[in-house]
């Protein structure tokens, strides 16, 4: 049994990977797709098409709205029907481009064949530019634009690339299926990232509950001509797949408060991202589809679908036979960090990893009772915070104290909530306080910058 894991906190939810044996299937094209302009971290993209325009699959329909932003491509060929607010999965309006599907005709220059291209272009700048133009974002959940992560600030040096195949969230199996079925592409993608970051060692971290994936990737690495790529089996523990926790587990280095992983010499990319990098660099294929697990005990059949970005949830659900009668809650993502879907007319984003159906019994929150100061939340917190204290401070609105107690370091993994015997919605309050404190920190930084410029 592997001993590799992060040093503090964490919980052990049952892994419930019931869709693990379902091979990836292509989902039919939906009649309409809705592409949100803000489906990555950073500035929303700016549309470059107009209503009535004919677009091809893989054609750029929106360009980055800032440095930290990403291109968006049409996932189908068809006509742009509207550009305007649509309700997102939370029911809040979000700007979307609506495209009516007419076919699956791809833009020229995109290689759709299955041939594996193992030879990596030599020019790193060209590679990063290709990744940028393909709109690749981190598919582990945070959807941070990948080209930004691959361009570290001057003075910082990458020492190891970690490919994140932990998939520590219960139920999710999309990364597992990618490792098993597209292992070659993931390894070539990893090799591309390795070259871009300066031929540093690469670690592909996979949790021990996926032994098939571990042996398969080891086999693939043996067959391909790359050096310094290794598989590291990880001890099962949530939230291992979180960037900072994974760096701790693999490199035994801690990323400081407010610092980036590159400050300790690490770059972490998800396996899905590695595959998207392969597609972008070797095949010129932009990020227009991703693997989504459709899972839950109440569903008659589980599935892992390759889904075009922007497919409405309702269309996906119809493909698996509609909503089961006993399903009480649908979650986009895993049960720990996913978001409840309040609006089934919303569409998938680049970062959508699963649609999870839970029953009333599985999801109903027990009534909240008083904190008994047992400290389980503090034991479970992988960031070493004290959730019980943060919640009290948050309720009292003590912003300075919250900042002193590092509420801004919360990674919103939900371990505190999971471990609380009093069923206090700890994370709900902490997330709110975190947002407020981060806002205050940013405002302070902006004011300091403005003052410095005024002095000049």
């Amino acid at each position: 049994m592997s001993k590799h894991t992060f040093s503090i906190g964490g919980v052990h939810p049952h892994d419930s990977k019931i869709s693990r044996d379902c091979a990836i299937q292509q989902l039919p094209l939906p009649p309409k797709v809705y592409l949100a302009l803000s489906q990555h971290i950073g500035a929303p993209a700016k549309p470059v098409v107009e209503v009535g325009d004919k677009v091809l699959a893989g054609q750029v329909i929106a360009e980055p709205g800032g440095f930290v932003s990403a291109f968006i491509h049409s996932p189908v060929s068809g006509t742009v029907k509207s550009i305007g607010p649509q309700k997102d999965l939370a029911g809040n309006p979000s700007m979307c481009i609506e495209i009516e599907t007419e076919g699956d005709e791809w833009a020229p220059g995109i290689d759709l064949s299955d041939t594996l291209i193992t030879e990596i272009p030599a020019d790193n700048k060209a590679i990063i530019e290709k990744i940028r133009l393909a709109g690749v974002v981190g598919l582990g959940g945070a959807t941070f634009p990948t080209h930004v992560k691959l361009s570290p600030p001057p003075g910082s040096k990458c020492e190891r690339v970690i490919i994140n195949g932990c998939e520590c969230e219960p139920y999710l199996t999309s990364d597992f299926r990618v490792l098993l079925e597209k292992g070659e592409q993931v390894v070539v993608g990893s090799a591309i990232l390795q070259q871009v970051m300066g031929n540093v060692p690469v670690t592909i971290a996979i949790e021990e509950n996926k032994p098939e994936a571990i042996s398969h990737i080891r086999e693939v690495i043996g067959k391909l001509p790359y050096k310094n790529i290794e598989v590291m089996p990880m001890k099962m523990r949530y939230p291992q797949g979180s960037e900072k926790q994974l760096i701790d587990a693999v490199m035994h280095r801690q990323v400081g408060s407010g610092a980036l992983p590159i400050s300790v010499g690490a770059v972490v990319q998800n396996v899905g991202t590695a595959m998207a990098v392969y597609d972008a660099v070797q095949k010129n294929k932009p990020l227009v589809d991703n693997i989504v697990s459709i899972t839950g005990e109440c569903l008659p059949r589980q599935a892992n679908f390759q889904i075009r970005v922007g497919t409405p949830f309702r269309f996906i659900i119809d493909q698996v036979g509609g909503i089961p009668a006993d399903a009480a809650k649908i979650i986009s993502g895993g049960p720990m960090m996913g978001k409840a879907v309040a609006n089934l007319d919303a569409s998938t984003l680049k970062g959508t990893s699963a649609l999870l159906f839970l029953t009333e019994k599985q999801t109903r929150r027990a009534p909240e009772s008083n904190c008994i100061r047992c400290g389980k939340c503090a034991d479970a917190c992988p960031m070493g915070l004290e959730p019980f204290l943060l919640v009290r401070l948050a309720k009292a609105g003590e912003m300075e104290e919250l900042e002193k107690n590092a509420v801004q370091d919360c990674i919103e993994c939900g371990c505190c909530l999971f471990s609380c015997p009093a069923r206090i919605p700890l994370l709900d309050h902490i997330r709110l306080a975190k947002g407020a404190v981060l806002g205050a920190i940013r405002a302070r930084a902006a004011a300091a910058k403005a003052a410095a410029e005024a002095k000049k």
């Binding site: 029911g91 809040n92 009480a328 978001k339 909240e368 919605p425 709900d428 309050h429 709110l432």
Partner: protein, 296 residues
């Protein structure tokens, strides 16, 4: 025995006198010169420290007012014009009386008219709920009903009405400090002038969706149809982002918009008589007919 007691008393007395002397000189030397009017202004304030004026408390308000020397950007909503007159007197300046204001709730999506479309079992806090999603009804703009405003009110002027699921403002207690407006994550409270004898007319909805979507989410929603804008003869109503807004400075309280509103989103309060919609509609019809005649 007695000598010990006497000695103790003597030593403590002398020590006390000496230290008092030291403290006296230190206080003189390091005295912070402060405008005495700050204390006077602070005393004239209500002392609720509610922050309704935009300052951290009554003391901060007093310091800023004395420093500025005028009351242009200072107004205590709690104390109102009486307090401001007193403050102006202390500062030896004049101040214009402001119309008293009151908080109004711009949502009338009560339980009966706004169907619940999903079930929320999270923390009972509007802020938490708003951060998670748009709300348990199809209206993404309406009241979430967890009562953050009630908790925020320092004057006990707000309470939740169990029947409608909406907060109710007690006008007698409301000081228009604006704490509820800050607490509401949907921004549903507006501070409006109280109006003559408390009479005022306002659009009690903030739904920015297009008409059909708004109507589907809530039967009482403003659907942005613009009938009120056409009806108003005082140019008091504007339509922006599918929401009508009545400018309190221009509204003449004729209640014609209220009678014509197809969804009942426009509310008139504290009027002595209930609105006779048919009579008002007949009056508008007659006037329009006359207008057309004169055109011909």
């Amino acid at each position: 025995m007695t000598s010990t007691i006497i000695w103790t008393i003597a030593v403590v007395t002398v020590l006390g006198a000496l230290l008092a002397l030291v403290l006296f000189f230190i206080a003189k030397k390091f005295m912070v010169r402060e405008d005495p009017r700050i204390d006077l202004v602070e005393k004239a304030m209500p002392g609720a420290n509610c922050g309704g004026c935009g300052f951290a408390g009554c003391r901060a308000f007093a310091e800023s007012a004395v420093k500025a020397g005028n009351l242009d950007s200072h107004f205590c909503p709690v104390g109102g014009n009486d307090t401001m007159a007193k403050v102006a007197e202390i500062l030896g300046i004049e101040v214009k009386a402001q119309a008293p204001r009151v908080a109004v709730l711009r949502c009338n999506g009560s339980c009966g008219v706004r169907p619940v479309v999903n079930d929320y079992d999270g923390a009972a806090s509007c802020k938490v709920k708003a951060q998670l999603y748009a709300g348990d009804t199809a209206c993404a703009f309406g009241c979430l009903g967890c009562g953050d405003c009630v908790q925020a009110c320092a004057f006990g002027a707000l309470s939740m009405d169990a029947e409608t699921g909406l907060p109710v403002v007690d006008e007698a207690k409301c000081t228009a400090c604006g704490a509820c407006a800050k607490a509401c994550p949907k921004g549903l409270f507006e501070l409006r002038p109280k109006g003559p004898r408390g009479m005022r007319e306002f659009v009690s909805c903030m739904n920015k969706d297009k008409g059909p979507a708004a109507k589907k989410a809530c039967a009482n929603a403003c659907i942005g149809c613009g009938i009120c804008v056409k009806t108003c003869t005082h140019d008091a109503i504007t339509l922006d982002a599918n929401i009508a807004y009545i400018d309190p400075a221009k509204c003449k309280l004729c209640r014609e918009c209220e009678a014509m509103c197809p969804t009942g989103a426009i509310h008139g309060v504290n009027f002595p008589k209930p609105l006779d919609k048919d009579a008002v509609k007949a009056r508008i019809k007659e006037r329009n007919a006359k207008k057309e005649d004169s055109h011909e």
